[in-house]
Symmetry: C2
Subunit: 646 residues, 2 copies
Amino acid sequence: MPRVTFIPDDVSVSVETGESLLRAAMLADVLVTASCGGDGTCGKCRMVVERGTVRAGQSAKLSDAQTAAGYVLGCLAEVVEDVFVRIPVESRAGAVPLRGGGRHPNPILAPEECAARVADSGSPPPVGKRLVRMFAPSLSDNASDLTRLCQTIRRDHGLEGVTVSLPVLGQLPAAARKGDWTVTAVVAELADTGLWIAGLEPGDTTARQFAVAVDVGTTTVEVALVDLTSGAVVAREAEYNAQTSRGEDVITRVIYGTRPEGLRELHELVTHTISVLVTSACGKAGVAFEELVCYVAAGNTVMTHLLFGVTPANIRTSPYIPAATEFPCVCATDLMLPGGPSTQVIALPCPASWLGGDIVAGVLASGIPWRDELTLFVDVGTNGEMVLGNKEWLVACSCSAGPAFEGGGILHGMRAAQGAVEQVRLDPGTLEPMILTIGGAKPLGICGSGLIDLVSELFLAGAIERNGVFATATDSPRLRKGARGPEYVLVFAEESGTGDDIVLTEVDIDNLMRAKAAIFAGISILTECVDVDFDAIHEVIIAGGFGHYLDLERVTTLGMMPEIAPEKYVFIGNSSLLGARCVASSKGMLQMARRVSEMITYIDLSVNAGFMETYVSATFLPHTDQSLFPRTEKLLAERRALKAVM
Amino acid sequence: MPRVTFIPDDVSVSVETGESLLRAAMLADVLVTASCGGDGTCGKCRMVVERGTVRAGQSAKLSDAQTAAGYVLGCLAEVVEDVFVRIPVESRAGAVPLRGGGRHPNPILAPEECAARVADSGSPPPVGKRLVRMFAPSLSDNASDLTRLCQTIRRDHGLEGVTVSLPVLGQLPAAARKGDWTVTAVVAELADTGLWIAGLEPGDTTARQFAVAVDVGTTTVEVALVDLTSGAVVAREAEYNAQTSRGEDVITRVIYGTRPEGLRELHELVTHTISVLVTSACGKAGVAFEELVCYVAAGNTVMTHLLFGVTPANIRTSPYIPAATEFPCVCATDLMLPGGPSTQVIALPCPASWLGGDIVAGVLASGIPWRDELTLFVDVGTNGEMVLGNKEWLVACSCSAGPAFEGGGILHGMRAAQGAVEQVRLDPGTLEPMILTIGGAKPLGICGSGLIDLVSELFLAGAIERNGVFATATDSPRLRKGARGPEYVLVFAEESGTGDDIVLTEVDIDNLMRAKAAIFAGISILTECVDVDFDAIHEVIIAGGFGHYLDLERVTTLGMMPEIAPEKYVFIGNSSLLGARCVASSKGMLQMARRVSEMITYIDLSVNAGFMETYVSATFLPHTDQSLFPRTEKLLAERRALKAVM
């Protein structure tokens, strides 16, 4: 990886080839003015390349003389080799770097690890195409078409006891003869629950088979279109779950589902959302619906019920019983999802009412079921779910975090999509921000990671008190009294993509604090239940729909996560989607998902005596018990001291 | 059984209580004039009860004086105890009884034997209701509804690995709570191919569960509605297959099915016929469609394909390949058959293109798979099928007999339904007939057994030559030259239920002779193939849609069956329907049906060098080789001698 050294600060950081100089500065904690999010329009993030060269970076915002002198716009310049870069005075947002050394980007639990595990499993997709080359019948070999098909599948693929549906049998005589006794069978191998031919095509069409991995989130639905022959994701789409129009959180949806037609409505809304995403993904990748062999859906228990149109009503009232924890495999067309008649839908199993297939998928994607070491998996979404364990045992709990981390309940919140502010650094003196948006687009709103960054920065700069209100003594044009009370302006209207100011309110801060407190309390209870110290945890894997640049140190700054050694934290992104991808590619992974679901011991926080107290103690920045966060307290002291001397 | 002695002939016969005196006379070969079929309207079959009493028999056709003198009408008088009956001169059709001793009715392989075998199998129906009494959930026992259901089914019924469809899962939460954790599950246990819950109802509804056994014949479709709690048939209906409008025989149907929309049309015609019959049967028995748990269909291979809407086209052209020999279980509603969403359809397996599930059902109903002794099973329908073997091995063949035995291709032929002439005796001198119809109704036409009786009697009386044409020398007002050539008038218009004469033509005789020749040739080839003599056969079981009074001796008279000792012949009636009933009642029977289908070695007569020669030799009465039928020849000589002296 090429190394970028910033002078005069003399801090350096390694980044991926092609990364922008602005992103490198962000990672190195070198503050640069940058208010357009990275699309080159504000022209403020000027830098001078003193040694080495960068790719691009030129802009009409720079004069010819500047360009000749080596000036580039940091957001547009791509790192391709080791460079020394000077930040000119006019671009400086802050006086000095806040930390001496540059940091690496978050370690990311890469999809490649999953891909390797899928390959190791050595098993075919749970639903996939098989080439069937039959011998032509004769008077002396006059077995029926179906017997011939099944015999050949047994001989060539080792599959015993295959069954077919009537529509498939109906297609067989013509397909076998049209393909001159070579057909492609879509075979569903759901291990314990059956082995059947879901579809049939004449000739060899095995080169074209795709699966849709779906993360059915309460707030956001994301799909990945997977080419099963290569394992590659050929398109990826995300959108808010259309059910949000019927309620922000899971409980509201469950209640809505008890209305007449409410269940049908919620079912249709989520399948509509998925349909739109799949239609778009297939369009972009040039994939026909008939080439989809399978959907693998991972969602929380309520979302999985609603996807299948099964009432989740009894989850809400004591004794909190789901209709099912394992769902039958059905045809996509039965759920009104895009697909041919052979397209199957598999849901990941949901171990408990409040622990769903999304978490099973995440645990799978994290590799915990293959690990000896104690690992903590935390999925931060509308609900916070935590799983602690290794390949021998797993305990889990969940708590309601609210939609803050996915942009919900935040005035200018948005999900981690194009234009979302995902990284923020502030000049602790002026509170001038340095922001980066997803896709380098004009800022449209703030996603989860941006929100964590922003509140952390404001807190460290002393602009937010420990109880989550703005410090009245702060003097900055960006901190103002708005119609909704005190607020901080992250992006002024002229720089934003919406044409309006993008602000942070005290209500937003309060929502974030409740959410982080719930997460912290959940983790605390979980470790208490199995009687382990935070230090015994070998790795903490953070999942969720944040941007990819979630600053994992910030999650401890806010007190959302315990102060486990920073190098133990890794980020995995949308692990629900990743796990669903794994399952779509390997029936061994599906079997492991079922095993995980059965292994998990679920701890119900709603009947846990200590939870509420632990939660309330955590609704402070970082915590009412400051001794739990010595590193944050030290950082806070340093920052405030620094500010005082400025 | 009460005994009826006819005087002055002094022949006696035992009959079932409730049987008519006329039927007893028929069995005893005592000829009585009787031309109305048994409905009391002709008033000719007068008899005098000399000792003992009968039930009913009075009629306005008798004068008060006659009634006082003990006269009754034989067709209306029911036997209830031993009686002596005198046939007055005016009722006599013939001079003397043709044989000294009375005969018993055909030994019938009774449904009771099947019922006993079903009971012995000790297994529940393949699709049947199970009572599931679950423990109510609690905070400490919070398994999902589905897990609870499956656990209870495992505990109480020993069923492992039950799966559910999505619609059933959708019903579960409400049904479990409505039934206060007691539900009735419709469980399908198809052994090798799966175990699933097809339907669900709150509370205990196990007392109401019915199955429909269907014999899907090329010419006739028959259904029996079976109460699965008692095993009793609560209604039975039959009708011509509506497909006959698209072709009389199987080949014509196969060709029709290759037209655009032809397959769909044939599928809809047969399901329409079944629907009409089931609707009628359910109406009569007060059964709701939702109470039907299963259809078990037995049909030949082409009919089974058409029932499922799968093309049978490749059965017709070399190398004669069916699409399938085993058909998937489907929902009745998928085939547009009456039923609830849980009603399943099971087809009996079809071992070969020309040997179908009807024969597998017949072999099953005959009990051959449980026998040590060598048994010949012959099903006489539109096709003739023969199976020879025992519990160790089975060989089979089939030949096209044409529809004659089901009343097709016969000018006044009809199926064995109300009003069909099913028994005929003739005065060998005058050719005056004594007839009995099914249900004792006015005659409407002639069914298979009536046709065999009639042609046999005419042949024995010398009115039909060995080559099947009417003997020109015969002098009888009933033998005349009609518009269609020579014909015999069985019923004159004034006695018939149609208002027209019911006649037998030479074309009818020719059709019957081809049919019987095909059957005889098939049986001959089959025994030759396995190198056994006719005498080695322990029992011959005759199946087919004849009336119940088929005279088994007559089948050898015509040369349709070899002259095996008469007591070795038994009649089983519609064994296809009977086998389907067995399977509907016992999954063990379904397993045995599959075993039978796999055990059978099929001998293809179309590629058999000797068949055509054997067939042509048999198109004579009884055969070109008279030495094969010594008993018939002896009878013929006796009858003709008797006639000569009259």
